[in-house]
Amino acid sequence: MTVFRLGGFELLWVSLAFAWLTYAGYRLWTGTASPTARFLSLGLILLIAMGLLQDLLDFSRG
């Protein structure tokens, strides 16, 4: 069974994904007058980040 290694290439892509999520979070938090949309998009972004972390943990467990 192949073991996933968290090398430089993977770290680059994962940190790019997290950087994009941070950017999206900033744009979506500041980009609307509707408080519901603001908190909903924050929650969705947290869910996505949680899913990404979960995948990372699953992968590095091998």
Partner: protein, 246 residues
């Protein structure tokens, strides 16, 4: 006339033609099914042909109706009617529930007509078509209406970000986030809730001495999950409706 009655009347004006078309399909199909019996094949073969073709037709018509519903939202948006609707004094959930209630009513009438047709014609070859089976298929058809709810949720989320030109970003985040919501609720359901829910056994059709053996029944936890997610998304959606400016 109350606001809800007016909204239902508007829905009837808009969806009425399509709904009448669906009921005409039922009437035409109940006449066409006669032809299966003119073949003079064995009763079990005729029953199989009748059930399979009716279910296929019903599935196609329900899919077409749901597509039409989605396209109608898009058409309203293009015609600029959303700005009018969003500025209306009635709360958002009233608009949304009028539309969804009408859609559920149309699908219920359609399913009842199809079930009546099946039960009537299958009775001619001595096959009992239990009411519970029809009800289960109807419930699965209504599950399709639930698909409208996440689509509208994403639509309203995107609309909230139109003035700031972050609509593509909101769409991507909404799509990925809803996928995550589904994944986490499936995880929770499979790990925790699955064992608490009762299995939903189906009443099976009988043809003389013949009956399907060992049919596993339909899963019920999908419905519980569907209802929970729909209530959650519907309440978020109606709050968004109140706050969105177009």
């Amino acid at each position: 006339m109350s606001a809800f009655g007016t909204l239902l009347w508007l829905e009837f004006r808009k969806q009425g033609t399509f709904a009448m078309g669906m009921l005409m399909v039922v009437a035409g199909w109940s006449l066409l099914l006669r032809q299966f019996f003119a073949w003079g094949a064995e009763p079990s073969i005729v029953a199989l042909a009748v059930v399979a073709s009716t279910l296929m037709l019903a599935g196609a018509v329900v899919t077409a109706y749901l597509l039409w519903l989605g396209l109608d939202f898009a058409r309203e948006y293009r015609n600029g009617r959303w700005a009018l609707l969003l500025g209306a004094p009635q709360p958002g959930w009233l608009h949304l529930s009028a539309r969804l209630l009408f859609a559920c009513g149309v699908l219920t009438l359609f399913a009842a007509g199809m079930w009546g047709t099946l039960a009537f014609w299958l009775g001619r070859v001595g096959l009992e078509w239990p009411l519970g089976l029809g009800l289960a298929l109807w419930a699965y058809g209504l599950g399709g209406v639930a698909l409208v709810v996440p689509v509208l949720f994403i639509g309203l989320l995107v609309a909230a970000y139109l003035p700031a030109r972050a609509d593509l970003l909101a769409f991507l985040v909404g799509l990925l986030g809803l996928g995550q919501l589904l994944e986490w609720s499936l995880r929770l359901f499979s790990a925790q809730f699955y064992r608490w829910l009762p299995p939903w056994g189906l009443p099976l059709p009988r043809l003389g001495e013949m009956a399907w053996e060992g049919f596993p029944g339909l899963p019920s936890e999908a419905f519980v999950l569907l209802v929970l997610l729909c209530v959650l998304l519907f309440s978020a959606m109606s709050r968004l409706w109140q706050e969105v400016e177009v």
